[in-house]
């Protein structure tokens, strides 16, 4: 029965559930796509890039779910708020509080079920598209195939449903607390206060978020980028929970300002903002989320790349770099190049990874990072890693160098003995010869070839790059000899520093496309939420507009009043969003560069704030126009 009631109410209120439905549809499409890719990733043979897909898909899926939960919880909160009298009537007539709560839960189920079939269909198409995209970007080998069972799809739908239920939980709770007497129009109902549970929960999450930020701040920065995204979610959850308070505070301050600036409609705006502070908070939250997410998603990689290229520039002592596209240079290339006429030093590096483990018990979980396996030769003559402890000359067979960050996380200093596991998970003992600072874009450990060569996982040792430095005064001779080497091996690339930097820039752009993809998805989601919220909050007031016009306000005055209110909403949202993003970025910057002032590009900032503002204002203005198109008398009758 309750399911039927929920079904009827969803069907009869298409507009107010449209937003939830679209958000759910997007979420199901994305989560299904993620589920399919995840399943395929697990089934993929090693070497087909399954692990890469999984590591890309998991955070992506989580963000989608989070944003969906936000959109749906906002839409449901509004729909319950608008139906207060209806719910009160239900309570008066026959429904127990539990039944009302279940009805809201069933409404979320109805939305899930309605979105399931098209959502999964779109999800499969999206999975195909994403695979093609990842392959085209070179993030995943072409051998990666989509292979999945029905379980992955049903689990995706189930996860969406559970998330939606969690998101509407507080709406259901509020609905069940509506008192039956509220159905009787004239009965005076005491003004509802902001729930204590909600406030406490919001403050607790906020404290958790701030604690998380201090953790980012003191972390070395290698994981800080992923944590930054998570911190936005935590902080925005707190904002969502504390939205009524934000609305209350901002509404009274900005309302007063409106009244001072615009004496006629300003008074109305002020009273609207202060009495409907809840609506103000609810309307501002999704926009704030858009701003915070967009800022963090765009600035974190930008800051990271800036730091990487900065450190790259400081590191580079070598005059020429030899690379080969694809697998890499053969093992012998280092010696070949080193022996060429005029070459003073030639050191090769190969990317790998390493974990520092304390004792034999906990060998699986230790701090780790990217490692560079270096060939024999004085590394410090081609790369200046910024050694802070010990000495980085030629590493002996039993010696390693660690980044400051890794050394700190592993609690070791130069001169200490460490146990490290390499690609094959075998433990090797080594002495820390040096600790260095310029690790961004390079790696957290330097391993000598004799130590690492035997521990590679199922592959021969190939070289990623050979760094070359000429003997003093013989630079030209080096160029000639490298050019002749290249004639013999046409696939080798010989880069000077400028070309090397250009190459790095190209890689940076490629990695940013994934960021843009993620950002695009999140923006679509949050925009749905922004538009839906504004449409709902404006449309519900068509009766109020009609009344205003009947008592003598012109259409233009009402439109101006709404413009002012929307502007206040936008202002609050931009402020809150910037605050959240600013806090996260400051912490991230501290972790990355040691400075709390994040380096932000003005153009990007203007784009985010301007885009969000224009979207919200345009929605608000056009919805008001639609709401005002009705004849006031008709609108008043409809509102009853």
């Amino acid at each position: 029965m309750l399911f039927l009631l929920a079904w009827w109410s969803v069907r009869a209120r298409k507009v107010s559930f449209a937003g939830s439905l679209v958000a759910m549809l997007c979420a199901q499409a994305l989560v299904t796509a993620c589920g399919v890719l995840l399943d395929s990733g697990h089934r993929a043979a090693p070497g087909q890039g399954g692990a890469d897909v999984v590591s890309f898909v998991v955070p992506f899926g989580f963000i989608c779910l989070f944003v969906m939960a936000f959109a749906i919880s906002g839409a449901f909160a509004l729909s319950v708020q608008q139906r207060t009298r209806e719910i009160a009537l239900l309570r008066a007539v026959a429904a127990t509080p539990g039944q009302v709560r279940r009805m809201v839960a069933y409404e979320a189920l109805v939305v899930t079920v309605l979105a399931a079939v098209p959502g999964c269909g779109l999800g499969l198409l999206l999975a195909v598209g994403l695979r093609a995209f990842l392959v085209a970007q070179g993030l995943v080998p072409g051998a990666f195939r989509l292979q999945f069972g029905p379980a992955s799809i049903s689990i995706a739908v189930l996860i969406c449903w559970v998330t939606a239920e969690a998101a509407v939980w507080s709406s259901g709770r509020r609905a069940s607390r509506v008192r039956a007497v509220q159905a009787l129009g004239e009965a005076s109902v005491p003004r509802r206060r902001v729930g204590a549970v909600r406030t406490c929960l919001g403050l607790a999450v906020l404290v958790g978020g701030v604690w998380g930020l201090t953790a980012i701040r003191s972390s070395g920065g290698s994981d800080a980028a992923t944590t930054a995204g998570a911190m936005v979610m935590v902080l925005m959850t707190a904002v969502g929970l504390l939205a009524p308070w934000i609305g209350k505070l901002a509404g009274s301050v900005l309302g007063l300002l409106c009244q001072l600036l615009f004496p006629v409609m300003g008074l109305l705006v002020k009273t609207n903002l202060t009495t409907a502070f809840r609506r103000l908070g609810t309307a501002a939250t999704p926009l704030a989320l858009t701003v915070a997410f967009a800022a963090v998603a765009l600035f974190v990689p930008q800051m990271k790349w800036h730091e990487v290229s900065e450190q790259d520039r400081q590191r580079m002592v070598a005059e020429r770099i030899v690379q080969r596209a694809g697998d890499g240079l053969p093992d012998s290339a280092a010696a070949t190049i080193g022996g060429a006429a005029g070459v003073g030093t030639a050191v090769a590096t190969t990317g790998s990874y390493v974990k520092v483990v304390g004792d034999s018990e906990s060998w699986q979980s230790g701090p780790g990072g990217i490692a560079q396996i270096v060939s024999d030769g004085p590394l410090d003559e081609v790369l200046d890693l910024g050694v802070v402890q010990g000495r980085m000359g030629q590493l002996g067979a039993g010696e390693v160098a660690l980044s400051e960050d890794l050394a700190r996380r592993a609690h070791v200093r130069a001169g200490d003995e460490v146990r490290v596991t390499l690609e094959d998970d075998q433990v090797a003992k080594a002495r820390v010869a040096a600790v260095y600072s310029r690790s961004r874009g390079f790696g957290d450990a330097v391993l000598p070839q004799p130590l690492a060569a035997g521990h590679l996982y199922d592959r021969p040792l190939l070289l990623d790059a050979v760094y070359v430095r000429a003997q003093p005064g013989r630079e030209r001779q080096v160029d000639d000899s490298l050019a002749s080497l290249r004639r013999a091996e046409p696939s080798w690339q010989v880069l000077d520093r400028e070309a090397y930097r250009a190459e790095a820039l190209r890689r940076q752009d490629a990695s940013m496309t994934v960021t843009y993809l993620l950002l695009g998805v999140v923006t679509v989601f949050t925009s749905i939420s922004v538009v839906n919220t504004l449409v709902m909050t404006t449309m519900e007031r068509s009766g109020e507009f009609a009344l205003l016009r009947l008592v003598g306000a012109t259409r233009r005055q009402v439109a101006r009043m709404m413009l002012l209110e929307t502007a206040v909403t936008v202002l609050i949202a931009l402020l809150v969003g910037s605050l959240v993003a600013g806090a996260v970025l400051a912490a991230f910057s501290q972790a990355l560069t040691g400075s709390s002032y994040p380096r932000l590009e003005g153009a990007t900032l203007a784009l985010i704030l301007g885009g969000a503002g224009v979207l919200a204002l345009a929605t608000g203005v056009s919805t008001t126009r639609i709401a005002l198109r009705q004849r006031p008398s008709a609108a008043l009758r409809g509102a009853e």
Binding site: R11, L89, A92, T96
Partner: protein, 239 residues
């Protein structure tokens, strides 16, 4: 149904308002009673307390011999669902549901505890003259029709008492008369107990007895009075 020494205070401290001040009243079975009084006399609070929508601060309320005092929110709802019918002034129906769905709502919400009595539903639809409007949504019905749907809904569970809060307040004279005749007919034909809150002496003249409230107290009880008499007495208490 009976109220005994019911007292209810709204708010607290300086802004406290005593809405009911020791009201005792009794509604015999099969009678039509009106509660009247000027604004702020406690009419609505009387109805809320008598129907279990609100709890009195002091005193007891009994419906069909059952004390409402110790019942929890859930039990009160079940009691309202099965033994009480409501008709409000306006906004009586869920806009998303058709007339018939609105009428059967209390039965559907009761789940398996109560079976829908189909013949009774048909009888109610006939009786209220809604048989051909059953598939319409509230927005497609006139005000009078909406009130008749509300009355049919109030009766679907064969309740012991029907509470009506200004049921004709938002209606024109003709529609109001139809609704009042319907309520009167229910009392005469099936012996339904009805309590109606109203400020309209004409509406009150359809009832068997009229309780006049002033300042939270029952000041007078009239039996079988005409609209003229009722209006006169109401003027006496300042309405």
């Amino acid at each position: 149904m009976r109220l005994d020494g019911v007292r209810k205070v709204h708010g607290s401290g300086g802004s406290a308002v005593t809405a009911l001040d020791g009201v005792t009243a009794q509604l015999p079975y099969g009678t039509f009673t009106a509660v009247m009084g000027p604004s702020g006399s406690g009419k609505s609070t009387f109805l809320h307390c008598a129907s279990g929508l609100d709890r009195p601060d002091h005193g007891t309320v009994e419906i069909g011999g059952r004390d409402l005092g110790p019942l929890g929110e859930r039990e009160l709802t079940v009691l309202r669902r099965e033994r009480i019918g409501f008709v409000f002034q306006g906004f009586n129906l869920l806009p998303a549901l058709t007339a018939e769905q609105n009428i059967t709502l209390p039965v559907r919400l009761a789940g398996r505890r109560v079976q829908l009595d189909r013949p009774w539903l048909e009888e109610l639809l006939d009786y209220t003259g809604l048989a051909d409007r059953r598939g319409h949504r509230p927005a497609e019905l006139s005000g009078g029709q909406q009130q008749r749907v509300a009355i049919a809904r109030a009766l679907i569970t064969r309740p012991e008492v029907v509470f009506a809060d200004e049921p004709t307040g938002a209606l024109d004279t003709t529609s109001a008369r139809k609704v009042l005749e319907l309520l009167r007919g229910l009392v005469d034909d099936v012996g339904q107990t009805v309590l109606m809150v109203t400020h309209d002496p004409v509406a009150a003249s359809y009832t068997d007895s009229v309780l006049i409230l002033a300042d939270g107290k029952v000041t007078e009880v009239l039996h079988g009075a005409s609209a003229g008499t009722i209006a006169e007495r109401m003027a006496g208490v300042g309405a």
